[in-house]
Structures are given as C-alpha cells and as structure tokens.
C-alpha cells in the first residue's frame, strides 16, 4: 500500500511543478526575451517484484525552454540591420529637412542676392541699392554659416551617440561575460541548463545588436563568444573587451573607435564597425554630414573665388579697382602635433572650377614626401617644392630638407561654409563699373550677375545653382534610400520576431489549457491518496475486530 501512496505523492509533486511552470510562463507573458518553458514528465524507476516490473509513478525529467538558435540569430541580425537603417534614415532625414526648408535654403539666399545686384545694375550710382546688395550678400554668407553650424550640431550629436553606443556596448559586453561565467558554472555543477539565464543572455545579445552587428559562437562550457562589426571579438568566455570612442586627431568632427584585444593594447577598429546605431552614426557622419559640409564649403569657396575675380575686373564709385568682395579663404593647413620646425607647408586656391572638396595629407617619410587624398585614398609621391592638384597649389619644403615623420593636413574647402563673409563694408567700394568706366557704368555688375548661370564649378560643368541642387539631391536620394531600407528592414525584423515569438513566446490560452489539464490530473492524483487511505482504513478495521 505504501507504493500507491508513493505513486500518488509523486504525481502530486510533479503536477505541482508543472503548474508552477505554467504559472511561471503566465507570469512572464510580458517579459522581454522570455522563452516559454515546458515540463517533461518521465516515469520513475520501476520496482521489480519477481517477474513483474511495477511502475512507481512519475517524476520531472526536465524543464526545457522553447528555443531555436537559428531564429534567435536571425532576430539578432535583423535587429542590427533595422537599427542601422532607422538610425541612418533619421540622421539623413534631418539633413534632408534642413536643406529643404526654404527659410534656410542657399538657393533662395542666392535668388535675393542676385535680385539685389539687378537693382544695383539699374541704379549703379545710388547708394541704397548698393547697401541692400551688401546686406543680401551678408544674408547669403549667414545662410552658409547657419547650415554649416547646424550640420556641425548634427555631427556633435552623432559623436555623442557614438560615445553613448560604446558605453552601452561595454555594459552589455560585461553583462554577457558575467552571464557566460554564471551559465558555465551552473551547467558544470548541476548539469542542468539555467533557462532564465540563457534567455537573459540572448536578450543582452539582441540588445547589443541594436548598437552594432553581432555574431556568436557557442563554446563547450555553454558560454557564448560574441564578435561585433566585421568579426572583432567583444566577449570571449567570461572576459569582455573595452571599447572607447575618441575624436579623430585629423578631423575634429569624426570619431575613432578603439577596442582592447585580450592583453594587447587597444587598436583602431573604426573601419571594422558595422550595423546598429554605432555603424549608422559612423556612416552617417562620413557620408551625410561631412560630405554635405564639404560640398557646401566647396560651393562657398567657389562663390568667393569666382565672385572676387570678377569684382576685381571693375571699378568702384571712386574709380578704384574693385577689392575683395568676400573675404578670401586660404586652405587650412594643420601641422601634426609632433612636427619638427624644419618643414613648412602652405596652400592656395588657383582654380575654383577644379576644386573637388577633398582634403589631403602631406607626409614626409623615408626621405621622401607623399600626398594622400583623404577622400579617395590615392597617394602621390611629391618631388620639388610645389604641386598643383585639383585647383589647389601646395607649396612645401623639399623632401630632403624636411624631417621624416612630419605630417600636414590640408583642407582647401572644409571651412568655406563656416568662414564665408563679406569683405566690403562701404557700399561705395562695390565695383559696378567696368575697368576705367565712369560712375554710371554698370557693366561689371552685369558681368557679376552673369555668374548666376556661368558654369564655374565642378570642372566648369556646374553653376552655383547646379552645384547646390546637387548637394540637396544627394542628401534627398540618400534619405529616400535609407527610408525605404528602414521600411524593409523593419518588416524583416518584425517577421523574424514573429517567427521567434511563435516558437518561444507564451500563449495564455495554451497555458490556461495546460492549467486545466494539470489541475484535473492533480485532482485525480489526490484521489489516489484518498483511495490508498481508504484501503488502509479497511485493513485497519478488519484487523481491529
């Protein structure tokens, strides 16, 4: 009779656990990353009595989580690409809106500037018209400065986001490493998989994927090695590497990402980062923000150069040859921090039509000098002391006289949009007349107005307007592509999440059904105890007589 009690008890115990598990599932129906768990019942070891094997009841074989490695990886991948696409589209969209706003458009400022020049051409001797022209030139310059400052703000925000991403990545890396340790320990000591810890680790990796693309590799002890971007190790067993973001010494507006690797010193992994918010911030900074700033800078420098050149062809109201209308911009040349005093580099713009907006690095090494185009990555060995490249003349100390290791960053147009300013203060100084023309002459003003449509930029193929249009359309096309890619990626992520959820997620109806099932079984098992009890009583009564 003891056996039947034992069997009943085993059933009650097992069913209680099953109901607990169902309760756990119901309790976690809204827990992110939770995988539903299910109880596997197995029969207990039978008792052998003579030639019969007697069942001894039931026990819990295991509690398993519903899990599919493929679906989980798929969600992690799609999280990285969807987060990348959304984040990139957001930045591109902001730049797109900035350039679209007629209130901040360079094109509309050029419209009013040229209209004010028509008024001067109508009344070349009248000062109010000239004053208006100066004011409109000022507005045009401010429009450039404003756009550049806003793009600079966007760039700063991206850098903050990059910094924030690295902090999150470090924290998540540490969480994953800690969970690796715990999972390995529990698995080793109990031989049982700690379902809830595994869920937490998967969730942490999914969250990490929101910041950067991740790939994982399962180890024998149950720990997962996590690689980010294009295969850079972030978590190896119980160790998490440290990521830092620092400003690019060659470009204040860009960030560099450094990552430790085991015991070796940290190295620059910027170019290996991809996917997620971090990848999006790095890409958007380079291809949307910085390229737009460079293009606006080139347009500003182009206007300054060509306008000043034509302005100098005429005479002002005092019969004096026209001076600079806009403050001329000299290419920025920055020497490296460790440069010797032996080498000197300077640059000047020689042909606005040939400008490309690219920046260059001049470096002395091995007794020679090399010029590297930082946009195209092309290298050029320098001889002599001067070179003219893409409309810029660079004068430099001859390789023999310079010190190896000296480096110079040359940025011909990078500061054009922030530095553009009107040089003339007195409206009398506007050179509306032709050279040696009398005060009433407006021919130089007419020639200046002709610059509106003249193909002066981009290899003499584009007017000011064409070029600006190109800038707006570049961003628009990028934004449109990013938006449509975000839509696609979001749909893919949702569908991957759906597939994962359909395997791993809790269904309350299912749990309710299980609850009823286990409850009924529990009631039946309780009856077993009652029957055993009655049988025992029967025996007692029989013997007591």
């Amino acid at each position: 009779m003891a056996d039947i009690l034992g069997i009943g008890t085993s059933a009650l115990n097992s069913l209680q656990r099953a109901m607990s598990t169902t309760g756990h599932n119901i309790a976690n129906v809204n827990t992110e990353g939770y995988s539903r768990q299910s109880v596997n019942f197995v029969t207990s070891e039978p008792e052998y009595s003579g030639r019969a094997a007697l069942g001894t009841g039931v026990r819990i074989g295991s509690i398993e989580r519903a899990y599919d490695q493929f679906l989980t990886s798929d969600v992690q991948n799609k999280t990285a690409s969807s987060s990348y696409a959304n984040s990139f589209a957001q930045t591109a969209g902001r730049v797109d809106n900035l350039l679209a706003d007629p209130a901040t458009s360079v094109a509309s400022a050029m419209d009013t500037f040229f209209a004010s020049m028509e008024a001067v051409a109508n009344s070349p001797t009248s000062l109010p018209e000239r004053q208006v022209m100066l004011a409109e030139a000022e507005t045009l310059a401010q429009r450039f400065q404003y756009l550049d400052a806003r793009l600079d703000d966007f760039g700063d925000e991206l850098n903050s986001r990059i910094k924030f991403s690295t902090i999150e990545i470090n924290q998540l890396g540490q969480t994953i490493a800690d969970l690796n340790n715990e999972i390995a320990r529990v698995t080793a000591s109990t031989g049982v998989a700690p379902n809830d810890l595994l869920d937490q680790r998967d969730l942490a990796i999914t969250e990490l994927s929101g910041f950067v693309k991740t790939t994982t590799q399962l180890q024998g002890d149950g720990s997962l090695n996590v690689f980010i971007g294009r295969g850079q190790p972030l978590v190896v067993g119980g160790r998490a590497e440290q990521m830092t973001a620092v400003p690019d010494p060659l470009n204040d507006n860009a960030s560099l990402i450094y990552l430790t690797a085991g015991d070796s010193i940290q190295s620059d992994v910027t170019s290996y980062m991809s996917g997620g918010e971090l990848g999006a911030a790095l890409d958007a900074s380079a291809t949307v923000i910085e390229s737009t700033r460079r293009d606006l800078g080139l347009l500003a420098v182009g206007i300054i150069e060509t306008f000043n050149a034509q302005h100098a062809q005429g005479d002002d109201l005092n019969g004096i040859v026209g001076g600079d209308f806009f403050v001329p911009i000299t290419p920025a040349v920055t020497g490296g921090d460790t440069n010797s005093t032996n080498s000197v580099v300077s640059a000047q713009i020689t042909d606005a039509a040939q400008l490309t907006g690219d920046s260059y690095q001049l470096e002395y090494s091995g007794g020679g000098a090399t010029l590297r185009n930082l946009t195209t990555g092309q290298n050029q060995v320098l001889t002599g002391t001067s070179i003219t490249i893409e409309g810029v003349q660079i004068d430099f100390t001859a390789a023999g006289a310079a010190t190896d290791g000296d480096r110079f960053l040359i940025e011909p147009t990078a500061f054009g949009a922030s530095a553009i300013n009107v040089a003339i203060e007195d409206p009398v100084d506007i050179a509306a007349a032709a050279s040696n023309g009398n005060v009433g002459d407006n021919s130089n003003m007419l020639a200046l107005i002709e610059l509106r449509d003249a193909k002066t930029l981009a290899g003499s193929d584009e007017s000011y307007y064409d070029f600006y249009n190109g800038v707006v359309i570049d961003v628009a096309v990028q934004t449109r592509r990013a938006n449509s890619s975000a839509t696609t990626e979001n749909a893919l992520l949702s569908s991957a999440q759906g597939r994962q959820s359909s395997v791993q997620g809790v269904n309350l109806d299912e749990e309710a059904a299980n609850l009823i099932r286990y409850q009924q079984a529990y009631q039946a098992a309780a009856q077993i105890i009652a029957v055993a009890n009655e049988a025992f009583d029967t025996v007692l009564r029989a013997t007591a007589r």
Binding site: V29, N30, A92, G93, D96, A100, P102, A107, S108, M110, D111, T112, F114, A115, E118, A121, N122, S123, P124, T125, S126, A433, G437, N438, V439, G440, D441, N442, S443, L446, I449, R452, D453, Y465, Y468, N469, V472, I473, V475, A476, V477, T479, R480, S494, G498, R499, S501, S502, V503, Q504, G505, V506, N507, L508, D509, E510, A512, A513, L515, I516
Partner: protein
Amino acid sequence: MISRISSAQVYQGGLNAILDAQVALSRTQNQLATGKRVLSPADDPAAASQIIKVRSELDRVATLQQNAARAEGTLAFEESALTGVESVLQRARELAIQGNAGSLSATDRGAIANEIDNLAEQLLAVANTQNADGEYIFAGNRSKSPAFEVVSGLAQYQGDSNSRAVNIAAGIRVSVNDTGDNIFIASSAGNGRFEVSAASTNVGAGFVKTTSADNSFDSSQDYSINFTTTAAGQLQYSVTGSVGGNIVPVTNYVPDEVISIPPGGSVLIEGTPAAGDRFDLASGGNQSAFATLAELSAALRLGNGQGATAQRTTALNQSLQNLDQNLTQVSTVRTDVGARMNRVSDQIDLNSAFNFQLEKSISELEDLDYASAITELNLQLVALEAAQQTYVKTQGLSLFNYL
C-alpha cells in the same frame, strides 16, 4: 505555416497595425494641410531638384519683370525729354524762317535772336535732365555730372559715349539711356557732306541759296570759292581745295547758275557777289544743336548792309539745313527709344507668360492632387478603424474568461 502564436504577438501585431495606420494617416493629413505632395526632397528627389530650379527661376522672372517695368519708366522719361528737345528745335526752325524774311527791321530780328537765345538755354536745361537718382540722363556713364557745360560760350558735352544696359530677361538686355553726344552733337553739318558759310568780309549781294553733294563728293578736304574780276570787269570765280589746290580753275560767273564742286558737289549762289568775296565749304563736320542755335542767333544780329544781309541770308539758309539735320538726329533717337519701349513691353508679356508656365510646372511638381489624397485619407481612416476594432475584439478573447 505557423501553427502557434504567442499572446505577445497577438498584442504587438494588433498594436503595430494601428501604429502603421496612424503613420500613413498622419502623412496624408500633413499633405492635405500643406497642399504639398512633396514634403521633403527625399519624398521625390527628381521632383525636388526641379522644384528648386523652378523656384529660383520664378524669383528671377519676378526680378526681371521689375527691371523691365523700371526700364519702361526710364525710357518713357527719356522720350518725354526728347519731345522737349524736338519742340525747342521746331520753334527755332520757325524762327529761322521768320528771321529770313526781308521785311524785318533790325529790332525785329534782335527780338527773334533773343528768343533763340532763350531756346538755347531751354535746350541746355533739357540736355541736362536729371532722373530720380540725380543722374544726368544724357551724360552716359559720367552720370553724376552735367551732360553739357558752357565752355567759352558754347555748350560742350562732358559725358561719355556709353549707355547703360539692364537685364529684362535671361540673356536679353536693353539700353535704358542715350548719350548726349549722339543726340545733340552727332548730326552732320549742312547738307550732310559739307556746310557753307560766307566770309565776314563779303560785301556783295551774293548769298548761298542751296547746296548739294552726292556720294562721290570728296569730304576729306575743305574748299573755298573765291570771286575775282578781270580787268574787263568780268566777274569770275575759282574753287580751291585745302588739299587738292585748284579744283575749279578761274571761270566766268553766270548769275543763278550752279557752281559745281567736282566731284559730286554744287553750290547755288543767288544775287551778285563782289570781287574779293569768298564762300567757305567745311567738309564732313558735325553740327551740335547748340552751335546751330548760336550761329542762328549770331546771324540774326548781323547788320543791315548789303554784305551783312547776304551773309545773314547764307547763314540762315545753312541754319535751316542744320536744324533739319539736328531734328532728324533727335527723332532717329526718339524712334529708337520707342522701339526699345516696344521690346520691353513685349518682353514683359513674354515674362508673364513664362511666369505662368513656371507656376504651372511647380504646381504640377509639388502640389497635391486633393481628390486622390482625400480618397486615400478615407481609406486610411477605414483601415485605422478596422485595426482598432480588431484589436479590441481579439484582446477580449481569452480562455481564462471561462475558468
């Protein structure tokens, strides 16, 4: 085929359907509120590129229309000044004819000469007309100082020969002024090839009635016609060129017969000159309107003797010719101004038409098709309502309700 679905999925799926419907609805709402199909360049980069270009074009056409309207006003102002010039010269012509009548006394002629002097002052005032900016409209580009200033008794041109052009359409310019040297100075003297004057020492009654010259006339030199008498008392003349020397040898003078100045020129002298009288032919000169009036005034003030009367008649006849030349010059310029005004006004019409085209294309590029947008809005509203109702109904379903 998915055979189970999690409760979170049911919830999230329902919610996503509502959120998506709201996003689409909000976009259409935004389009309807702004009336724009393209809300940012990314919505339609190709159209956005066009929109930017067309907007600039529109702005430019508006500026050019202002230019054109202004040019119209400037030209009209110039035309009214030129009308003034014409009436001054017309009046001078009338006075010259009047002054040529033989019946006038010296006092009468003096009164006419005074009026001529007044006309000369009026002419100077008109020639120095200023516009609203204080510019002298006939001074060319030297527009800040008077076009004419009196130098040793005669108005001299102080401006330059450049006129001002303004843009009235892309690549189309129109001159909005004419220079004083062209209007007042550039007309040819006399018959267009030469002008003749009587020497102030003439004593005979001979005066120049008419002159003529054709293409073959050699205007590279000046000529003089000299009268002499033979011992027999025969009046003779000869023509001498300043370069060619003796052009017409000494010839007997036949009254009222044309004296030819070969090649191509001729002078008709009426009355009888005296020996020693001389007529000078100045070739290829220009005659300013101011000089014409000054000469006219001076001729009218000549005395009453036979020689002086003949000199005056010659001078008045020449002045009439000169006035005609001056008037032709002014009316040529005035016609040209009128032609330019027509061009400007045509261009204003063209610009308006162009403006309309641009407005139309910008509207096609960025304006919303309200009918289809409202249809879409209704569809989206239905979709949102459906999503919301579905959500409420499915969320209410749970097995737990029956436990």
